[in-house]
Amino acid sequence: MSNFQLTPAGDRVTLSLRGRLDAYSISAIWREASEALTGIDSPRVVIDGTQIDYCDTSGAAMLLDLAQISRAAGAETEFANLPEQAQQLLGLFDPTKLAAQSQQVGRSSWPERIGQWGSNVGNEIVTLVSFVGEAASALVIALRHPVRIRWGDAVRIAREAGVDALPIVSLISFLIGVILAFQAATAMSRFGAEVFVADLVGLAVLRELGPLMTTILLAGRSGAAFAAELGTMKVNEEIDALSTLGFEPVRFLAVPRILATVAVIPVLTVYANLIGLIGGAIVMMGFGISLVSYYQELLGMLDLSDLLTGLGKSLLFGVIVAGVGCLRGLQAGHGAAAVGRSATSAVVSAIVLIVAVDGLFTVIFYYAGI
């Protein structure tokens, strides 16, 4: 049996509700009664609650909604014989205000969204430029007064970003060397030129892949960690506390991270280069090229500038990773989701910037003949 009944009598229709009206039991009755009342052709509707056993706020919500639907159909609507509990509950709410509040929700128009996007991009550029300026000034001040640098923090960060990253850097660099050598050897073996694979591996690893892969790993590990750590500090108002204690958050938090990253990244890059070359050497041995031949080929092909250009780029990449990580952390909003967004944004922004800067360097080095 349905929990409501619609009874026409003279110039009015009576909607009689029965049983328990709570969040678990009103779904069907709400839907069916709404359908029955929509467009009802009667000048008067009475919502009768004589047989209601229990009514909580969900039930009250349904009563208000049904009355609203009935009124929208042009019927004069009233409640009758509601239990005391339901009457008290209905007295707590202002149906007009409730209806007005549900109308308030609305998406902004597309010109507004474009304007908002443009404004966000503008703000982002201003923030980035001001952060770069602030960080550069803080770095200069820190280097002029090295005792004021938080060396304890810098050493801890260097260990976490450097020593702790060795296993993953080893694995990825080794595999890069192996993959590169295999791909090149497969093509070059057709021409009996397997020995020149060493040249390709050496150049690619030292000038591009060593610095690039190391920095991407650093962005994934340390850049994200910086953003999450500083983002959490922001959420916990620790950064506000630092400011009120007279510390500049950038100098206090970003400088040790940038210095630590810049200190470890060349070492990690050299290590990654070495492991990558070892990976290549192992593949070459599989193709019958001795270690000595591989080594001599590398010596003949590479010079110090190949190593130095890679290291130079890695230093700049390190600054980008640490700077972007700190910036995103300091920009974090409120709540757990904001910390997650900061970490994601730190990694994505750093990788995009690194690849873009690397592309720029490649073009510059090509035309400069380096």
Partner: protein
Amino acid sequence: MTPPIIRVNNLTAGFADRIVLRDISFDVQRGEVFVIVGGSGSGKSTLLKHMIGLYRPQCGTVCIEGEDIVAAHGPERISILRKIGVSFQTGALFGSMSILDNVRLPLEAHTDLPKQATAMIARMKLQLVSLGDAADRMPAELSGGMRKRAAIARAMALDPLILFLDEPSAGLDPVLSAELDSLLLDLSRMLHVTLVVVTHELDSIFTIADRVLMLDGATQTIAAEGPLLKLLAHANPQVRRFFAPNKEQM
């Protein structure tokens, strides 16, 4: 006499080898406002978290309408949890959702009401806590007091039989705090909701409490339990001292 809605029996609880609550037993009656008080670190919030089944006690039981929340699993546990609503100390609102969606979440998860209905119910709950105009704002955009009220609205989403509130009025201004107390009393009276409130606020205790349980952090046991008047004249001076600043209100 009707059976108690909550029965805590010989509850001993703690973390690793540190006992926080020792052999605690008490009942909460249906429809009453039961207030848990005690000094800082006396185990009030720990007791609350055991009562809502978040922590497992070292021994003892917590029964909600006769069903042991500690031993319950699966659908049985879900059915017990549907009877309770909890407002946490910090609000614990989901930061990625608007206030309205926070309140709608339990309605959408546990009922088959259409979206329009859950939105309407959620707006009513928010109107109850005077947050009707803030429904579409994110938790990060709210003040601490607003977050607490939104958390109460979420806890009430399914009109639970029992509402647990951890420090609901802490950090609110006196006017808001009094309004919140009045709201809690309305809920208790109109919906016959049983309230279990952990609080430090003496004004709130004097306004809302039917019975009070005071924990003693030193012995990890119950220092006193009963109606407020009984506690004000308690033989233990520590209990009297706790309520002393408000003695003149009697």
